[in-house]
């Protein structure tokens, strides 16, 4: 060993640990460049800015018509513009959320009432409408709209949040899958467990919790029941594997089929929508501006990282996967560790199912179809070795995001869904290839 050994080794480790982060960042940069487009400011803030510009140009003594479409962001635009104009003391000649015809009617009405229209506060889209020129004294030159700017569609905050929101469920399930794969196992049942959790929770709420009028406590109890059932399914997987030595692939394949059938049977093949509104908050609500699933994901990843890197249990999981016999002969209780890992994986799949179910507002036995494949892909792209013993929790998070970002980018660029599958397959292959080459490159 010469003196340079630690340095190069450290550099190598740095690449191993953060290589995938670089890939993700590169993807973000490339997609941003590819989706660069002229954007119009939107929402409340844009409305306020437009109002301020009108005041600045024509003074506070103006009569303004606010025109926007009927989307939530445009409603916010109108709110913002009206509020700012009223604060400044201007007159609101009228406000519209709708189509060009709605705007024409509103303008006609205002003029018929004898109001004057000194300016039209319009959004980037409504300013393009041609109706203004039909009226004398208005014309499109009186329209004031937000100044457009150039920004990648991909990097817009709401797009990024929606990517994160969609990734969250896969990422949450992938935590358990990462642990399972680190023990040199696999869990094919997670997709079916998503459906099982969804159905179990919805039925529990409908039949025992009071359905649509269920209290918060009953709703949470129902969700917990769904997670517990999936945890038990995971425990069953683990028992088959440790007690009878059934290969994980087979044991969990069987569970995948059984859980799928069970959820369809429980739900009689239909979705269950007798759930309270509070149920929908879990997956559909936001906290501090972030979608709840994203927050849940962040918290779970922080906990899982800590468990895997700093606790005895985490150490044992790696040791069991790296060399179960050496672990056993070092005093590690191999079977209980394996059992725990499969149970956790089942419970996390259940949690993913609850979140997905809550997003949709129903319990659906058809949820989670093929999720296991996306989840395994995320783990593998994240650098966890299927041979066991190696892998990182945060690698999986990066892997899940790499897949989600590629999917999103392809959607934004109008790549067809068939082509998307081809690309995603290739991505998984390349990730494993890079990992394999990296492994062979090392000594021994």
């Amino acid at each position: 060993m010469d003196a340079t050994a630690p340095k190069t080794q450290l550099g190598k480790n740095l690449f191993n640990d953060y290589g995938m982060v670089f890939v993700l960042l590169l993807l973000v940069v490339v997609l941003s460049a590819l989706t660069l487009k002229e954007q119009s400011p939107e929402g409340e803030e844009a409305g306020r800015i437009v109002a301020e510009r009108i005041i600045a140009e024509q003074g506070a003594n103006v009569s303004v018509m606010v025109v926007a479409e009927s989307t939530p962001v445009d409603e916010a635009f109108v709110r913002g513009a009206v509020a700012a104009l009223e604060t400044a003391g201007a007159t609101i000649a009228g406000s519209v959320n709708g189509k060009p015809t709605d705007a024409r009617v509103a303008i006609e009405k205002a003029l018929a009432e004898g109001k004057t229209i000194d300016a039209v506060a319009a959004t980037g889209d409504t300013v393009e409408w041609t109706i203004y020129d039909r009226f004398d004294g208005i014309g499109s030159d009186k329209c004031v709209s937000p100044v457009p700017y150039t920004w990648p569609t991909f990097a817009k905050l709401d797009n990024l949040l929606s990517v994160a929101n969609q990734t969250a469920i896969y990422a949450i399930i992938a935590i358990g899958m990462t642990m399972v794969i680190i023990t040199a196992g696999i869990d094919l049942s997670v997709g079916s467990l998503v459906a099982l959790a969804s159905v179990t929770a919805a039925i529990a709420i409908r039949d025992f919790g009071g359905g649509e009028n269920a209290s918060m406590a009953m709703m949470l109890a129902g969700c917990t029941a769904g997670i517990i059932v999936c945890g038990l399914a995971g425990l069953f997987n683990g028992a088959m594997i440790t007690r009878f030595g059934i290969p994980p692939f087979i044991a969990t394949l069987a569970m995948m089929m059984m859980a799928k059938g069970l959820s369809l049977r429980l739900a009689v093949g239909e979705s269950i929508s007798e759930v309270p509104d509070s149920f929908k908050w879990i997956g559909g609500g936001t906290t501090l501006g972030l979608p709840n699933p994203v927050i849940l994901m962040i918290v779970l990843y922080a906990v899982a990282h800590f468990v895997m890197s700093s606790t005895i249990f985490g150490r044992y999981v790696y040791a069991v996967g790296g060399n179960a016999e050496a672990a056993r002969l070092s005093g590690v209780a191999v079977k209980p560790v394996t059992l725990t890992v499969y149970t956790l994986c089942g419970a996390l799949a259940g949690l993913g199912g609850i979140v997905q179910s809550s997003k949709l507002g129903t319990g659906d036995p058809k949820l989670g179809l093929m999720y296991e494949l996306d989840v395994i892909a995320a783990v593998v792209v994240g650098g966890t070795s299927l041979m066991g013993g190696e892998g990182r929790i945060f690698g999986t998070l990066i892997g899940a995001f790499i897949i989600a970002v590629i999917k999103n980018g392809m959607n934004l660029m109008d790549v067809g869904s068939y082509d998307q599958q081809i690309v995603l397959g290739a991505v998984v292959l390349v990730a494993v290839l890079v990992d394999t080459i990296k492994r062979k490159g090392g000594r021994g």
Partner: protein, 498 residues
Amino acid sequence: MANKQPNVPLLQMSGIEKSFPGVRALSGVSLKLHKGEVLALMGENGAGKSTLIKTLGGAHQPDAGTICIDGQPVKLSSPTAAIQAGIGVIYQEFNLIPALTAWENIFLGREKSGVFVARKEERRKAAELFRSLGVDIPLDVPCRQLSVAQQQLVEIAKALSQDVNILVMDEPSAALVPQEVEKLFAIIRDLQKRGIGIVYISHRLDEIFEIANTITVLRDGKYVGDAPATEMTRQKMIEMMVGRSIENEFPKQATQRGDVRLSVDGLSRGTSARNVSFDVRRGEVLGLTGLMGAGRTETARLIFGADKLEAGTISLDGKTLNIRSPQDAIKAGICLLTEDRKTQGLVLCRSVRENFGLPNLKELSTAGIVNKPKEREAFGRYVDSLSIRIPFQEQLAKNLSGGNQQKVVLAKWLQQNAEVLIFDEPTRGIDVGAKHEIYQLINQLAANGKAIIMISSELPEVIGMSDRILVMHEGRVTGEITDMSSVTQEQIMELAIG
């Protein structure tokens, strides 16, 4: 052989260079092998022997230097190319498929017929090969059921079945008992007569003087020197390998033996252990020896709880223990250093620090959370005291040489501060320098009042390091030797044969 050496060597390697990230494994190594010659390649672990033979086997490509066969430069770009060039390499790590039988492994990838394997033909040829080796290997059981030594013999048979001019053997005798080594030597001498050149690597110095014509010594990836075996002495060779002089190969120190610490009575499991009983005293090194499959390792595994006990009792300091798993044994203060470091001793894909921590995590953590600074500090102490050569604690266990790996395994058990230590082949595949350090450590542990069982097939080691010797045969204890002043290898062998 020296009488009819042709001018052109069979194999000539010159100026071989090979670097790995951060490590210069070989720098300017040269080697010459003639027809019918046995060349012993000597050096400590990490000296570059393994890298050199991997270069010969086509597993590594040298960064610089030339390899000539019969004077013609060759490029060994793959293991297949090496075999085609007439070079067969038997690596120390087995390359057998555990699920296939011996004969299937021997002919793997070289099956004769088109679609169907010529089973009878292959099986017959394999049987012939084993007969010519004078060994008895069950032909129709999967290799995973064969013992380490039997698997090694399959490896040798496999290499012999390929028509090679040059045969490289990396520690072929490591898993063999003296009788089998003699058989191996007979085979090697036979191959010599056929004009095959042999590169032989072994840490057993006695063997080298018995079989080698020429000795080439490497140290730290560099060529140190070579000499005909007749002109080399044991002392001189050790000095060349280690780079300093070692006074006494077996530095046994007399210790004060105290009360009985470990006592086993009537241990039984199938045919591998039948009614095994013995005691080990405080400060005593009990040598446990016998032929391959005599039940030594099996006995150790029973004491350690690695296998299920069918009958018998184990007691420590007079208290009967109920050991059902390695966890129970460790808790009671019994440790086992397994014979196979790579498959049983270490989690190769994890760092040495984590390997060290594995049995010690409970003591190194609070409320289930590992105290990493404490772990690093504890391991650091052993890195210093055992002089483990690692660039840093996060180094993966698989990147270490055999001696350093063994020291990591030692460190993890020393941290346990166990009362009974069972060493199963503690010096197998380990170089002279590290061997010496392990012997001194065993002395020190005995001096501290530990009870030690040392399982070994190397009779000089057993005789040199034990206070008392127990010999096993077919699962039974067949003899005990207490008078260490007059014991001979023949005496032990007689008991070992049964």
